[in-house]
């Protein structure tokens, strides 16, 4: 809670944004090449990588272990190891992700007071940053802090990777079938 202006978040430069998104796309590409969900997700504090997540839904059997949630855990761990207070680090940390965060992750980012999220393509099924709901912008006085989004960053490339992934035989993906009724 509280207002963002008090914390004077230092925005990354366009070159920094470009550079970190390049790394997120590299990560997504590497995931695709090894048969995993092609989502790249990085958390950056003062131009330093503090968290990096891939989707861990299958190994944890926990459907909430999206890349963003894994990365947020890593930021907490980074704070612990560095002896930093996460309530000071998180409002200065940017999330770079190749796909729009879902509603759950968007709410988690609010609860963590993340000020800025840069993402690639939209997530029409679950997207919480404009596609299904607008969690960063909605008036939610008891759910952390509103945040800013920069969307559409190399969106076509991000979509292409997802399409390629879902075209491959994925034993863990729900098999679409014709409804019986």
């Amino acid at each position: 809670m509280g207002t963002r202006s008090e914390r004077d978040f230092r925005r990354p430069s366009p070159e920094d944004i470009e550079g970190w998104m390049q790394k997120a796309f590299d990560m997504a590409r590497a995931a695709l090449d090894s048969g995993e969900v092609p989502v790249g997700c990085l958390m950056v504090h003062s131009n330093q990588l503090v968290g990096k997540g891939g989707n861990e839904v299958n190994e944890t059997k926990n459907a909430t272990r999206h890349a963003e949630m894994v990365a947020l855990d890593q930021v907490l761990e980074w704070c612990r190891l560095e002896g930093r207070d996460h309530s000071e680090v998180l409002p200065q940390t940017v999330l770079y992700v190749t796909v729009e965060p879902c509603i759950m992750c968007a709410a988690a980012l609010r609860l963590f007071h993340i000020p800025l999220v840069v993402f690639g393509c939209k997530n029409e099924r679950f997207g919480g940053c404009g596609s299904v709901l607008d969690i960063p912008g909605d008036d939610l006085p008891n759910t952390g802090t509103a945040f800013e989004c920069i969307s559409g960053f190399r969106a076509e490339e991000a979509v292409e990777m997802l399409k390629t992934f879902y075209k491959q035989e994925n034993p863990n993906a729900p098999k679409p079938r014709v409804r019986k009724d």
């Binding site: 944890t60 459907a63 855990d73 907490l76 759950m104 988690a108």
Partner: protein, 359 residues
């Protein structure tokens, strides 16, 4: 780790006592609870009622009232002493060219461009008619005050809105589960956490799969009670992402995977039928399970329940930014691929007291 043994005595005790004092009510979609929207229309008395069916056919051709199939074109006049017992809707105000003056139109003006014999119609007057078909009995009763509408009643919804969907025996069982959630909330509070607790139950076997409480005041701000419960269910299935050092965050080893309940009692469109998934499609581990939680989940937790394919949610107290009724209705959200039934009010007072009267 914490394997659990659940005190069964508590549940039995509450099942044997007096009927519960709280009401469990459904949290319906906005479409099911909103006030009926109304449209302005012109109606006119039918002076010669033998002309009624001809007028219905003629007006349906000139002014078909598309999308308003629920509206009965003709109504019986409320005043029994009236010389003209029937009235018919001529057209919607929006069907006419806008003139700024909507009152005092004659029948000739309303039907100026049409070849309809209007001799059997009296002076037109303005009425309000319901814009959409009623989905619930309260909506139907309200709509019918304005103009007769047809209503395809979903009896389950009607019963649920009366608070009678569950038998006293079922409510006693619910109370037992919510008492376990409240006990977890109190235990969490003693550890310095928010007083919120939850229980995930397989309703087929009435077995508790996981119990948890809020852990967000410790090392991890996102460990709300629901997130903890979901992760404990994952641990029960041999997965899980976190360790919980608290005695009241625990799970029981999973038995056979729970089966999906057959659809929604509350008229929701239920997608994501389990038959469409691989038989061991992980990690939809909450499929068919019920969650009892003392406080309405936030939007993060509500969406986590969608991802986990929860079957039903029962909560006690509403919360300000709550996402299962108060601020959002994630369980009925259009565009999402899993919908589920939500009920509120289970031990509402005791759940409110957790927040307002800390122990």
């Amino acid at each position: 780790h914490f394997k659990m043994e659940f005190p069964r005595c508590k549940r039995r005790r509450s099942a044997d006592t007096e009927p519960v004092s709280w009401r469990v009510l459904p949290v319906l979609s906005d479409e099911q609870c909103q006030d009926t929207q109304l449209l302005d229309a012109y109606a006119a008395p039918i002076a010669d009622k033998r002309q009624t069916s001809r007028l219905v056919r003629a007006l349906a051709t000139v002014y078909p009232m598309a999308g308003l199939q629920h509206i009965k074109r003709v109504r019986a006049r409320k005043d029994p002493g009236s010389p003209h017992p029937l009235e018919i809707i001529v057209c919607l105000v929006r069907d006419l060219p806008a003139t700024g003056d909507e009152r005092g139109k004659s029948i000739a003006e309303l039907l100026s461009s049409a070849d309809v014999d209007t001799s059997a119609l009296g002076e037109p007057f303005l009425v309000k008619i319901p814009a959409s078909p009623p989905l619930t009995r309260p909506q139907f009763e309200l709509a019918s005050k304005h103009w007769p509408t047809s209503f395809h009643e979903d009896k389950q919804v009607t019963v649920a809105l009366r608070g009678d969907l569950f038998t006293p025996g079922e409510k006693a069982k619910m109370q037992g589960f919510m008492e376990t959630a409240i006990a977890a909330a109190r235990a969490g509070q003693r550890e310095g956490m928010q007083p919120v607790g939850g229980v995930i139950v397989d309703p087929q076997t009435e077995r508790i799969v996981a119990v948890g409480h809020d852990c967000s005041q410790g090392a991890h701000p996102l460990q709300h009670a629901v997130m903890v419960c979901i992760d404990l269910v994952a641990r029960a299935h041999g997965g899980g992402a976190h360790q919980y050092k608290y005695a009241h965050c625990k799970f029981s080893e999973a038995g056979s995977p729970p089966r999906l309940r057959n659809g929604s009692a509350l008229g929701l469109e239920v997608k994501g039928n389990v038959d469409e998934l691989e038989p061991n499609a992980l990690p939809y581990i909450c499929t068919g399970c019920d969650l009892y939680v003392t406080r309405e989940p936030c939007v993060m937790c509500a969406m986590a329940l969608v991802h986990s394919r929860i079957g039903r949610v029962f909560y006690g107290a509403a919360s300000l930014d709550g996402a299962l009724g108060s601020r959002y209705k994630i369980h009925t959200q259009k565009g999402l691929n899993h919908h589920f039934d939500v009920f509120k009010g289970v031990m509402e007072q005791e759940c409110e007291d957790l927040i307002s009267k800390p122990s």
